[in-house]
C-alpha cells in the first residue's frame, strides 16, 4: 500500500524506482477523494494536475540524481502556513478567501527539499483548540473508532487535527503541524501517530499565521520517529526574517533514531502523576518506563514543582499575545469585511462575523488580562510564573537527559464531549503545555491502545536544541512498543 508507507520507506522506494512519485501522489489523491468527505481532514485539496506536476518534477530529479531529502513525498500542510497562490484560511471565516502572494519559510524549505503538497489540512480556527471542533470549515473526524462503536465520531485532537487525521488515515505520508501548547503532540497521540514540537526558534515562524508568538512552533507529524527527524531536517533552519529564529546548525536528526539509549537518564516528573489520572494512562506510562529501563536507561524521579501552574499561565499568556496578533484582521487590507457606516463599525462587525466563538473569547480574555488594572495581577504574574516553570525544566535537566510523561490525560473523546466547560477542554493540554512554556523540544510517540481500542501516546521532553536525544529515546520507545495498529478508517481499509 503506497498510502501506508513511512517517509523513509517511500523515499527508499522512490530512490530504487520501485514506484514513481506520480504513482505515490495519485494514490494519496485517490485516498483523499474517498475519505475526505467522511473525515474532513483537508480544507483545500490542491488541483490534481498541480499535485501530479510536482510529482513529475520529483521523478525527474530522481532520474537526474538530484533528489532532495523529501523529494516526491506527498504531504499535507496545516492550513496555518501561508502557501503562495493557494488559499490559506486558518480555518476561519475571516480568511476564507485569502490567497497569499508568499510562501512561509517552513513550506518553502519543504518544497526546496522536493516535497509534494497535497492540500491544506483542517485545524481549530487560528490554532485555538484541542479537538478540531472550532473550524469554520467543520470539524475533522478522528479515523479511529472505539471498539464496537463505529457510530460515535471521535475528535482527532487539536489544533493540528486535520494533519493528524490525514496522516493516520493514509491521506498523506506526513503533515506539518504547529504547536503552541500541544497542538502537534496531543492530536498525534489521539490519532496514533508521531508528533514533534521542536525547540522554540528551530523552525522559522515567518509566513505562518501567528497565534501566540512566544509559543508557536512548527513541527512534523509522521508515522515514525525517524520520519519526524527527517522531516524536521527539511523544515528547520535559520531564517533572517524571523528575529526569534535560531542560527544553530541543523543536525541530521533522523540519524539520532536507532542510536543506543543505554546510560541515558530519564526523569519521571512526580507532579505529572496527578490525582484522577486514568489508570490506563498510568499503566501505559509505567510500561514506557519499563521499556526504557530494559533499553539501558536510568530512570530517576524528578520534580517540576510549578508545572501544575503551566496551564493557567498558558491561558493568560497565549490569549494576551493572540489578542494583539489578531488585531490585524480588521477588514481593511485582506480577508473578510462587513460594511458599516463608521470605521469602528466596520471593525466590530467584521471581527464579530469573522471570528468564531472560541477565538473571540480568547481575544477578549487576552484583552482583559492586558488591560489597565489587571496587567500586573494576570499578565505580569504569568510571565513570572513562566520563569519558574522554565527554571524547573533547567533544574531537572541538570540531572536527567530527557523527561518521560504521558502526552494527554486521556484517549480521544467523542465530538460533543467536554464542550460546555472550556476549562475541561483546556485540561487536555495539561501535559503538553509546560514544555511549550519553557520552549524545550517534546515528542509524542504512539505506544499502545487502551481498552476501547484507541491509541495512547507518551511524551519525551528534552533540553533546548537537543531534539536528537529526544528522537533517540522516542526511537527506543517506538521499537519496544511496536505500534502497528491502524484506524478503522484508512486508505487501506476494505480496499
Amino acid at each position: 500500500m503506497l498510502t501506508g508507507l513511512t517517509l523513509t520507506e517511500a523515499r527508499a522506494g522512490l530512490a530504487a524506482r520501485k514506484f514513481s512519485a506520480r504513482e505515490l501522489a495519485q494514490a494519496h489523491l485517490d485516498a483523499i477523494g474517498r475519505l475526505n468527505t467522511t473525515l474532513n481532514a483537508y480544507i483545500t485539496v490542491l488541483p490534481e494536475a498541480d499535485v501530479l506536476a510536482s510529482a513529475d518534477a520529483a521523478d525527474a530529479r530522481y532520474a537526474a540524481g538530484t533528489a532532495g531529502i523529501m523529494d516526491g513525498l506527498p504531504i499535507g500542510v496545516k492550513d496555518l502556513f501561508c502557501t503562495k497562490g493557494v488559499r490559506t484560511t486558518a480555518a476561519s471565516k475571516m480568511l476564507a478567501d485569502f490567497v497569499p502572494s508568499y510562501e512561509s519559510t517552513v513550506t518553502a524549505n519543504l518544497l526546496n527539499a522536493g516535497a509534494v503538497f497535497l492540500g491544506k489540512t483542517n485545524l481549530d480556527e487560528f490554532a485555538m483548540g484541542s479537538a478540531n471542533i472550532n473550524s469554520a470549515f467543520g470539524p475533522t473526524t478522528n479515523p479511529w473508532k472505539r471498539t464496537g462503536d463505529e457510530a460515535t465520531a471521535l475528535v482527532p485532537g487539536g489544533s493540528s487535527g486535520g494533519s493528524s487525521a490525514a496522516v493516520a488515515a493514509g491521506m498523506a505520508l506526513a503533515a506539518t503541524g504547529t504547536d503552541t501548547g500541544g497542538s502537534i503532540r496531543q492530536p498525534a497521540a489521539y490519532c496514533g501517530i508521531v508528533g514533534l514540537k521542536p525547540t522554540y526558534g528551530r523552525c522559522s515562524r515567518w509566513g505562518t499565521i501567528a497565534f501566540a508568538s512566544s509559543l508557536d512552533q512548527a513541527g512534523p507529524m509522521t508515522r515514525s520517529v525517524a520520519d519526524a527527524g527527517l522531516m524536521l531536517e527539511a523544515m528547520a533552519g535559520f531564517d533572517a526574517r524571523d528575529s526569534t529564529s535560531s542560527n544553530r546548525p541543523v543536525p541530521e536528526f533522523h540519524k539520532a533514531v536507532g542510536k543506543s539509549v543505554k546510560g541515558l537518564r530519564v526523569g519521571i516528573p512526580a507532579e505529572y502523576r496527578a490525582p484522577g489520572l486514568p489508570a490506563e494512562i498510568v499503566a501505559m506510562w509505567e510500561q514506557g518506563i519499563a521499556w526504557l529501563k530494559a533499553a539501558g536507561c536510568e530512570v530517576v524521579d524528578v520534580s517540576l514543582p510549578h508545572t501544575r501552574y503551566g496551564l493557567t499561565t498558558y491561558y493568560i499568556i497565549a490569549p494576551a499575545e493572540c489578542s494583539s496578533n489578531l488585531a490585524r484582521y480588521d477588514g481593511v487590507r485582506f480577508g473578510l469585511r462587513k460594511d458599516a457606516p463608521s470605521l469602528d463599525g466596520v471593525y466590530e462587525a467584521t471581527r464579530a462575523a469573522g471570528f468564531g466563538q472560541e477565538v473571540r473569547n480568547r481575544i477578549l480574555m487576552g484583552t482583559y488580562v492586558l488591560s489597565a488594572g489587571y496587567y500586573d495581577a494576570y499578565y505580569l504574574k504569568a510571565q513570572k510564573v513562566r520563569t519558574l516553570i522554565k527554571r524547573d525544566f533547567e533544574n531537572a535537566f541538570e540531572n536527567v537527559d530527557v523527561l518521560l510523561t504521558p502526552t494527554a490525560p486521556s484517549a480521544a473523546f467523542a465530538q460533543g464531549e467536554n464542550m460546555d466547560d472550556p476549562v475541561q477542554m483546556y485540561l487536555n493540554d495539561i501535559f503538553t503545555v509546560p514544555a511549550s512554556m519553557a520552549g524545550v523540544p517534546a515528542l509524542s510517540v504512539p505506544v499502545g491502545l487502551n481498552d476501547a481500542g484507541l491509541p495512547l501516546g507518551l511524551q519525551v521532553i528534552g533540553r533546548h536544541f537537543d531534539e536528537e536525544t529526544v528522537l533517540s529515546i522516542g526511537g527506543a520507545l517506538e521499537a519496544a512498543a511496536g505500534f502497528t495498529h491502524t484506524p478503522s478508517i484508512h486508505a487501506g481499509a476494505g480496499a
Binding site: T312, V332, F334, G345, L364, T387, L388
Partner: protein
C-alpha cells in the same frame, strides 16, 4: 477576580468585537469560569522572580539598512476587500 457586564462590554469595545447584549452575558459567564480557574495563580510566590519574555535564548539580531522590499502595490491591493485607485479605503474618519 470576577468580571461584570460593564467590564465585558468595555473589553469587547477595546477588542473591536461587536457583541449583542445577549452575547455579552454569555461571554461574561464563559470568561468568568476561566478566570475563576486562573485565579489559582494567586497562590504562587513570585517574589524576586523576573518576568520571562519570549524564550529569550538569544538577543536581537539587526539587519542591514538596505531597501529590499516594497514596490508590490498590486499584489497588496489585490487582497483588499475595498480599494479606490492606489488606496485602501475605510468609512470617513473625523480626526
Amino acid at each position: 477576580m470576577s468580571l461584570d457586564l460593564a467590564t465585558t462590554r468595555r473589553i469587547a469595545k477595546l477588542a473591536r468585537i461587536g457583541l449583542e447584549e445577549n452575547e455579552l452575558e454569555a461571554t461574561r459567564q464563559k470568561l468568568n469560569g476561566i478566570l475563576g480557574w486562573i485565579d489559582q495563580l494567586a497562590e504562587v510566590d513570585v517574589t524576586g522572580v523576573p518576568p520571562m519574555v519570549g524564550t529569550e535564548t538569544e538577543t536581537l539580531r539587526q539587519r542591514e539598512d538596505r531597501v529590499t522590499d516594497g514596490n508590490c502595490r498590486d499584489a497588496l491591493l489585490a487582497c483588499a476587500p475595498e480599494t479606490s485607485g492606489p488606496f485602501y479605503t475605510v468609512p470617513k474618519v473625523v480626526e
